[in-house]
């Protein structure tokens, strides 16, 4: 796994042994490639696949110091709350969530198989670019 633009990433996939698709690429490979693309965007401090239901990381590519488990749990919880609010407001199924804060941005995109793709970025990140990569990953991975 190659490093993001700066710092030394802590990487890894968790969970069951990787399944292989018809094309031969393992699911874990697909997930990690998606994370690699997202993490190459300047300003991204980490990205991860998270089980939506319980907020546990499935695969991750993080810079040193980023608390993966906390990011995963909080992102899943936030996504759940926002989905509930979206249902209450008649907005329908949520496709992408970004939480902006003074010190950075948390981005979440629901994907197939009850997974979320999550990115944590600093406040100067090109959100449009990260969003593009995340939605592409969410639509393509595990399809």
């Amino acid at each position: 796994m190659s490093a993001p633009h700066r710092g030394q990433p802590a990487t890894g996939a968790t969970g069951a042994p990787p399944a292989r698709s018809a094309a031969g690429a393992s699911t874990t490979d697909q997930l990690q490639r998606a994370l690699d693309r997202i993490s190459r965007v300047r300003g991204v401090r980490g990205s991860m696949w998270v089980a939506a239901e319980d907020g546990i990381p499935v695969a991750q590519l993080l810079m040193e110091g980023v608390k993966g488990k906390a990011v995963a749990a909080l992102a899943a919880s936030l996504a759940r709350k926002v989905s509930g609010a979206a249902a209450a407001t008649g907005a329908g199924r949520v496709r992408f969530v970004q939480m902006e804060a003074a010190g950075g941005t948390l981005l979440v995109a629901p994907a197939a198989q009850d997974l979320l793709i999550v990115a944590l970025a600093d406040s100067r990140v090109n959100i449009g670019l990260v969003r593009l990569e995340m939605i592409r990953a969410a639509e393509a991975a595990l399809a």
């Binding site: 608390k67 906390a70 990011v71 909080l74 992102a75 919880s77 936030l78 759940r80 709350k81 926002v82 989905s83 509930g84 609010a85 979206a86 249902a87 209450a88 407001t89 008649g90 907005a91 329908g92 199924r93 949520v94 496709r95 992408f96 969530v97 970004q98 939480m99 902006e100 804060a101 003074a102 010190g103 950075g104 941005t105 948390l106 944590l120």
Partner: protein
């Protein structure tokens, strides 16, 4: 509305034993005359202690007054008398939702929908509860009156009078909502696809989002959060904190670019902040 009150008052004067007291109380409640409504209802229930509609009305008044415990007791009494009383089933369900008891709220909503499958507000509330819910903390007993439009019951009923804070904004009364940290509506409004008021339900759900955002920002060392943007299938939502504890929701059509929606929300936020400061909040 004034004519309703006059005619109902006259009807009750002609026949003090009439059940019209409940209609009169409801008319008064909708006008914001909650204490008068309470008097009428309590007097009516002395004559008709087994009148489920009267207990239902009493519960709504207590809910408006922020006395959720008495509201719960009154709805429980109504359901003792008439187990299928739809207004009371709805009231109990939304009360439980508001208090954060999601399991009980889901059970109550299922019960309500079994008897009233067409109740769109209940169906939507059930979706919210199943999605993990986001109830606001219960308003404490004796809390300041929530205003004529703020009820924890029947989100389908449009609130009558809310401050026109966003006058001149596109969607001022149906796409922009200002609420407090307890999930109570302050101004603006939100309607569902059928044009029914969904403000109360949305406000209750959004209060949970605010708390989650604060927690997330703190844990991750992101400092204060400034906005949440949710892109959804039917609309884009922007949620932003306003001042000390208030929250703004702006709903925009999917056709509006997210960046524009954010700018629109920022303008609305400025208006809301100025208004809150003018209220001394």
């Amino acid at each position: 509305m004034a004519d309703d009150v006059r005619s109902l008052t006259a009807a009750l004067a002609r026949d003090p034993a009439s059940l019209a007291y409940a209609d009169l109380a409801e008319a008064l409640r909708r006008r914001g005359q909650r204490h008068e409504a309470l008097q009428v209802t309590l007097q009516g229930l002395v004559r008709h202690p087994m009148h489920a509609d009267g207990h239902d009305c009493l519960a709504r008044i207590y809910a408006d007054l922020g006395d959720l415990e008495r509201a719960r007791l009154a709805w429980s009494k109504a359901l003792e008398i008439a187990p299928d009383h739809l207004g009371s089933l709805r009231g109990v369900a939304f009360l439980l939702f508001r208090q954060g008891d999601l399991a009980a709220a889901e059970a109550a909503l299922r019960k309500l929908l079994a008897r009233a499958p067409g109740d769109e507000g209940a169906r939507r509330a059930l979706e919210v509860v199943r999605a993990g819910g986001a109830p606001a903390a219960a308003a404490p007993a004796g809390a300041p009156a929530a205003g004529p439009g703020r009820r924890v019951t029947e989100p389908r009923l449009l609130s009558a009078r809310r401050p026109e804070v966003f006058h001149g904004f596109d969607g001022a009364t149906n796409d922009i909502l200002l609420l407090d940290q307890r999930g109570l509506v302050l101004a603006g409004g939100l309607t569902d696809a059928e044009g029914h008021d969904a403000s109360e339900l949305a406000a209750a759900a959004l209060a949970g989002v605010s708390g989650e955002a604060v927690r997330t920002a703190e844990y991750l060392g992101l400092d204060a959060w400034s906005a949440i943007v949710a892109e959804a299938e039917q609309a884009n939502l922007v949620v932003a904190p306003v001042g000390d504890g208030a929250l703004l929701l702006v709903r925009r059509d999917r056709s509006m670019a997210v960046g524009l929606a954010l700018r629109f929300a920022e303008r609305a936020r400025g208006i809301a902040l100025a208004w809150l400061q003018g209220q001394g909040a």
